[in-house]
Structures are given as C-alpha cells and as structure tokens.
C-alpha cells in the first residue's frame, strides 16, 4: 500500500511541477501577482509530495519490503540498518528520487526564504526550476519507477554491493547531489535573468548564497568520495581521473569560477554575461555528469546499471535544457555588458585570470573525459585516457592559478599597486623558495615538478595567512575586535585559500614520494618501508554481521621501538559472493602507513598471503584541506550580507575603515 502511495505522490508532484512551470512564468509576463505567487504554493507542494515519496521508498528499505523490486535488488534483511537506509539512494531509481527530492528542496527553499527577491524574478526562477523537475520526475515515472512491485516476492534480497557498505559512501551521494543539484537553482536564476533581460549587483547578491551552499556541499561530497576510494578500494590512491570522478570535478571547477565572478558582478557591476554563462555551465556539467553515469556512454568503474533507453531520454532532457539555455544566452546576453572599468592590475583582473584558468582547466578535463567518445566516433578506435594526460594538462594550468591566488587578495579593486603588493609578499616568496630547497635536499632529487609544487603550496599558505594578518592588523591592539567586525565571508575566503594550499601539499606529497611494497608473506615475515619495520604476526578468522573476515596482525616498529599494531582485513560476503579489503592505516600528519591484505593464493604458491604496504607522505593534508574548504564555505554562508532575508546594512557601516573589502 505505502509504495503505491509513494508512486501516487510522485505523480501528483509531477502535476504540481507542470503547473509551477507555466503559471508563474505567464504571471510574470503579464504582471499578474496572483499567478506569480502561485509558485510559492506549488513549489512547497511539490517538495512535500516528493518528500513523501522518498520517505515511502526509505520505509520499504527499512522494513525490508521484498515485494518492491528495487528493494529486492539492492538490499538484504541481514544488512546493518544504516546501509539499509543508504540503500535507498544506492541505486539508479532511488538516487534519481533523491535527485528530484533535492531539486524540489532547493525550489522550496527559494520560495520560502527568498522574501527579498523581486516577485517577477522569483516567479520566473521557480518556473525554470520546475521545468527541470518536470523533466526528471517524468523520466522517473516513465523509465525508472522505484516503486515497481515484484510477484511472487522472493524470500530475501540480493544485497547491496559490499564494497559500498561504508559510512563514507552512505553519505557521499547525498552530499554530492546537494552540490550537483544545488547548482540547479543558480541555473534557474540565470535563465530567469536572461528572460527578464536584466542582471545587476542585486541579482548577484541573491545568487551567491545558493552558489556557495551548493559549492560547499559538492566540495564535501567529492572529498568524501576521494577518502572512500583511498581507504576502501585498497589501492592507496585517492584520485583516478575516472570519467565519473571527472564529471563531479568539472562542476566544482566551474562552480569555483562562478563563486569568484559573482563577486565581481556584485561589487563592480561587471562580468555580467560571463557570470550568467558560468551559472549555466555549472549546472550543465552537473547534468552531463548525471547523463554519463546513467547512460553508459563511457565506461567507468562507478557506473550504475546502464540502459540505452534511459540514456536517450536524459539526452533529450539535456539537449532541451542545456541547448535551450545556451541559445537563450546567445540571444539575450550580448546586450547585457557594461559596468565598471578596471586597470590591467587590479582585483578584477586577478579574478578574470582565475576565471580563465579555471575554465581552461575544466575544458581540459572535459576534453580528456570525452575524447574516447570523439575518437571512437571518428576512427572507430576504443581507447581510454589515463592519468598521464590529465596530469600533463591539468597541473600546468593550476600552477599559474595558484601563483595568482597568493597575490589576488592583496589587490584593490579598479587599480592596484603591483609593486607594493609584491614587496609585501617577500616573506611568502622566501618561504616558498626555502621550502622547495629543503624538500629538494631532504628527498635528494624527487621529481622537479613536485619540488616546485611544494613551494607553490607554501606560497599560497603563507600569502593567505599574511593577507589575513595584515587585514585584521593582527599584532596591534584591538585585533580581536577587528576580527569580529570583518565580514565573515572574508574570513571564509582565507580559510578556503588555506584549504587549497593544504590540498596542494597533500596531493603533491602523496603522489610524488609514495612508497609502495607488495609481498607474498607468511606469519613471521618482516617488511621494511619508509624507516618502519613491520612484522607479520598472525591471521585470524572472525565473523561479522553479514561477512566473514580474515584479520591480520602486523606490529610496527621504528628503530627498534614499538610504534603501533595494524589490523588489515579481508572480508568475504557470502550472499553477494564477493570480497572487500579493509585496510588498516596509521595516520599521522607526516604521512599514512597503510597496510592491506589480499586473499590467500592457492595451494602451491610461495606464501599464503599477499601483503600490500604503502607509505603516503602528507596524504592527510588532503582531507584537512578539504575540511578548510568546507569550513570556509560554511563560514561565508553565515555572513550577514549573504544571509537570505537578513536586513542589509548600509555600505558605510559594513566596511570598517581601513579594511579592504575582501572576498
């Protein structure tokens, strides 16, 4: 009964979305306030209905209702409760339901919180948002119904992939989706502005908090996914340039560009059509991601079960939404420029460089991701593009970007004094050079690029901290008061920039100076790595809730002194018939000592076990850096200026004397 109600709610939500996609838009065109205001009610209704449907599906998972085909295929009665719940979105249909749930959630949030947005703009935005809803809800109802029943019901389910039974992965899709789908509202704002034909600083101010919320969430989602790959897949890598990773990374890159260009639109009333374009592209790339993951267009280790019919439907939606919005852009945007002029050396120019580099980086990733498809269409060859391409294409674009990142926040709007800025950055420059030299000395000739990147990481770090210290006059009286008075968004910027610096250090350290050993071993064997000595003590068989585990004990010493004991596991899931690796990691800031154990080789092999031991220097800076990014984004979100609905202070009060307006 409840699954039927869920499906019924979903159908009603489609109707609400259809109404919302037409009525407010017409109302805005004709100046009919009642029609415009209907968007509020329909957005809310749509959200409540989809929430009900989502709850209904989740309930089916929680009570293990094996009359629902989706539950049969993706759950099992013996599974821990957390993973039963996570099973709701761990499959194509359920994740799509989560997708539209979040979509409707953002629509409802704008309807509810966006009180200060002009009525016509709000009505149009919500209508555009509903167009997307109509597309995806109908897609679900026609091709991927999560509530399909199965008769006769089987006794038990077919389990979720045990590889996916992990806390990180359980919350990874929701976060990623809030990010992905969150950009939909920014897209809707952009399309609404194009229809209206007007973009002004106020528009940028309304759009920024939504961009920031989506970006923060996407950052957390990508970080979690990477963390999952690192410790669950058991290969010790955290980024593989796989198509599915790339499609989540591209919206992040363009979204980052959008965050920065929206500042210029807000403060200086320029970069308008560019900001609009970025808003459209960010969501377009999110849609492209959804399409690639679900259509089977490209091969990937992460893909959902693929179905060409679904692919065609999503492609149709993509052509309508992306093609339509870009056509609208080509038609309306040329008449929108204007606004403040700026000198070649100014904060605007710095942000322009930031934008150009970020979009170039995105284009590189996009090209590399789609190149196998292009090539296959033209020559018929099937190839894959590996990390060498992306590293060669991506890193050279990041280097100037990071250099500019150190300088940018020091520059003033309109016209900056480059010499003055550079003289203030002497300390950062010295720190960077010294770091490079130390790294070069200590590692006795690692890759040159890595040595330079370590320097660049320190450059960004010191420059960001220095800029913050100068802004709040850290070493003078009343610093604390100044810190409190500064807009939170400006502290957010510093945190996020520090986050990027830490990411650079972590990424460089863990890829350039990683040590890696694989050994056939029996209990009693000793392994040396990165100054540690590991002794393979024993292996024991243990029983988990729905798996059987072989747990190895490895004691670790350094210079004869006990350091820690590692317990890597190999788990076998009888119902799914598959095994997973649970690595054991000793985490320190200096680096991770990482051990995993592989299934026993068959009789006659040299040894009974295969041990893999890794040392990844600085790898934790990746996660710490991600946390700084998320923290920075969240702090900026609480900024009074960005809080939707908060009364605006007048400009003279908001900027304390002597402080640079900072983002």
């Amino acid at each position: 009964m409840i699954p039927e109600l869920g499906q019924f709610a979903l159908s009603l939500a489609l109707i609400a979305a259809v109404v919302q996609s037409v009525l407010p838009m017409l109302g805005a065109a004709r100046g009919n306030a009642l029609w415009m205001q209907s968007a509020q009610a329909s957005a809310l209704a749509q959200f409540v209905l989809i929430a009900f449907a989502f709850g209904a599906l989740m309930r089916s998972y929680v009570v293990s209702d094996f009359t629902v085909e989706n539950v049969v295929n993706n759950s099992h009665s013996l599974k821990p409760m957390l993973y039963k719940i996570a099973g709701t979105w761990g499959n194509h249909e359920g994740s799509l339901l989560l997708w539209v749930f979040i979509l409707a959630g953002f629509g409802a949030a704008v309807a509810f919180y966006g009180r200060n947005i002009p009525m016509a703009l709000k009505a149009r935005t919500l209508s555009v948002q509903a167009w997307i809803s109509v597309g995806f809800i109908s897609f679900m109802l026609f091709t991927s119904n999560p509530f399909t029943r199965v008769f006769p019901p089987p006794l038990d389910g077919n389990d979720l992939n045990p590889l996916l039974q992990d806390v990180g992965l359980a919350i990874h899709p929701p976060l990623l989706y809030v990010g992905y789908v969150g950009f939909s509202i920014v897209f809707s704002f952009a399309v609404a502005a194009l229809i209206e034909g007007r973009v002004d600083p106020a528009w940028a101010r309304w759009v920024r908090p939504w961009t920031l919320a989506a970006w923060t969430s996407l950052t957390a989602g990508i970080g979690l996914g990477s963390w999952w790959a690192y410790y669950e897949l058991g290969w010790g890598g955290w980024w593989f340039w796989d198509p599915v990773e790339n499609v989540s990374f591209m919206p992040w890159l363009v979204g980052t560009a959008l965050l920065h260009s929206a500042i210029v639109t807000e403060k200086r009333d320029t970069f308008k059509s560019w900001t609009i374009l970025l808003a459209i592209l960010t969501f377009s790339l999110s849609l492209l991601g959804t399409f690639i993951v679900r259509s089977g267009l490209l091969t990937s280790v992460h893909a959902f079960a693929v179905d060409p019919e679904r692919g065609i439907y999503i492609l149709g939606l993509l052509i309508l939404s992306i093609g339509g919005s870009l056509a609208l852009f080509a038609w309306r945007a040329p008449s929108m420029e204007g606004g403040g002029l700026f000198a070649p050396v100014s904060r605007e120019a710095g942000l322009l460089i930031n934008n150009l580099l970020l979009t170039t980086a995105t284009a590189t990733v996009l090209f590399g991701t789609l190149y196998p498809l292009f090539l296959e269409a033209i020559t018929g060859d099937k190839i894959s593009v590996g990390p060498p391409f992306f590293n060669a294409g991506f890193i050279p674009i990041m280097m100037p970007l990071l250099l500019v990142m150190g300088v940018g926040p020091f520059m003033s709007w309109k016209r900056a004094d480059l010499q003055g800025v550079l003289s203030r950055l002497k300390v950062a420059l010295a720190a960077a050079v010294v770091t490079s030299l130390i790294v070069w000395y200590v590692t006795t000739g690692g890759p040159v690029l890595a040595i330079i990147m370590m320097g660049i990481g320190v450059w960004v770090l010191v420059a960001s901290v220095q800029e913050w210290g100068r802004r709040v006059k850290l070493f003078q009286d009343g610093a604390w008061a100044r810190i409190r008075r500064q807009p939170r968004a400006s502290h957010g910027m510093t945190l996020a920039h520090i986050g990027v610096a830490l990411l650079v250090l972590g990424a460089t350290g863990s890829s350039a100076w990683k040590e890696d050993l694989v050994a056939f071993a029996d209990p009693g064997a000793k392994i040396d790595i990165a100054g540690f000595e590991l002794t393979f003590e024993s292996v024991e068989r243990q029983r988990g809730p729905n798996y059987i585990a072989d747990v190895a004990t490895l004691s670790v010493t350094r210079d004869g002194e006990f350091v820690t004991t590692l317990y890597p596991e190999r788990r076998f899931y009888p119902t799914a018939g598959s095994t997973t690796t649970e690595s054991s990691i000793r985490q320190t800031l200096a680096g991770d000592l990482y051990a995993s154990i592989a299934e026993p080789a068959a009789e006659g092999a040299k040894s009974d076990w295969l041990l893999r031991v890794l040392y990844e220097p600085l790898v934790n800076f990746l996660w710490i850096g991600t946390m700084f990014l998320v923290l920075g984004g969240s702090l900026s979100l609480t900024d009074r200026r960005l809080r939707v609905g908060a009364p605006r202070k007048s400009k003279s009060k908001a900027a304390p004397i002597g402080a640079t307006p900072a983002e």
Binding site: S273, L297, G386
Partner: protein, 180 residues
C-alpha cells in the same frame, strides 16, 4: 562578431550533443567488449623490449611460436587496478600452465622497470608500447585488459578490467572454456 562569440558555448554544446547521440545509437555498448579479433589470429604487432627489463620483446611471430595457452596482459605502472591484479596473474602464470606475456601500455620504460622490480616480473616476454600502437592494433579500451590466446595462436577471449575478486572467477571460467 560579438554575437558569434556569445553563440560559441551553444555550438560547442551541440557538437558534444551530436557525439552523444551517436554514442547512444546503433546498439553501441561500451561495457560489452566485442572484439573483432575473437576467433582470429593475433594482429600484426612488433614491440621492442622494455629498456632495463631482462625480457625479450614481443611480436606476433613470437606469440605464434609459443606452445600452449597464452595470456596477453596489457598493463601500465600508472594503473591502480593493474597493481591489484598483478599477484593473480603471477599465480596464473605459475600454476595454471599458461604462458603469461605482457604489453606495457603508454608507460615510461623506467617507470615500468621499477614497477616490475618492485612487484616481481612474471612475464615471459614483454613488449613496450609507449606510443599505444599495440593497444590500437588489439583494440583495447584501457588497461588492464587480458586476452586469452589458444595453442594455435587464435584469440579466444577478451577480458577488460582487473582479474581480481569476481573478475578472477569469471576469468577462470573463460580460461576453462578455452581449455576444453
């Protein structure tokens, strides 16, 4: 001119869309890997040895001269899954009575040599395919990929992805089929 510039994103999007339409039509399925080489002899390849690795290079003639079943494995030092499947391939080479030969795909010789030194070198012969030409000849979609070649030098099976876990089971089934 300015208008043209503003239409550029649309044009690019439409071109990508066109490729996507092509990609979805005509029953193309990138995850199924039909190989036109199944039941055919190994295409002409002639790859030099990897510099710094003490194994002969690999050519079609070499493969045809080898007795019994051959496993031709494409791998690269930059490929995580290759590392994962390496011990299994090593074991197959030692215990299953098959000849393991390898092609090092788009990889620097130094990196490959270091990788093999670290993990062990179970391959009887190894070709260096830095240009990717050999990969194109055999129509691989990425690494790792492993071909099963029977005693007569005919390609019998193409396996994409790492030979680990469930993949190992499927690979062994395919190998048994070729043996019969």
């Amino acid at each position: 001119m300015k208008r043209l510039l503003f239409a550029l994103p649309l044009v690019v999007a439409m071109i990508i869309g066109g490729f996507a339409i092509w990609g979805l039509s005509g029953g193309r399925d990138p995850s199924s890997l039909p190989s036109e080489f199944i039941s055919k002899p190994v295409p002409q390849i002639d790859l030099a040895a990897i510099e710094g690795v003490e194994r002969p290079g690999l050519s079609t003639a070499d493969i045809n001269d080898m007795d019994g079943i051959k496993l031709l494995n494409f791998f690269a030092s930059w490929c995580g899954p290759c590392r994962a499947e390496h011990p299994n391939l090593t074991r197959l080479g030692q215990e299953e009575g098959v000849t393991l030969i390898g092609i090092n795909y788009k990889d620097k010789p130094e990196a490959a040599a270091k990788w093999l030194e670290e993990l062990g070198n179970p391959y009887v012969a190894l070709g260096s395919d830095y240009s990717g030409r050999g990969g194109i000849e055999l129509g691989i979609s990425g690494v790792p990929e492993t071909f099963i070649i029977d005693a007569d030098g005919i390609i019998r099976h193409r396996f994409a992805g790492p030979v680990v876990g469930d993949g190992l089971r499927r690979f062994l089934e395919a190998l048994d089929e070729v043996r019969q």
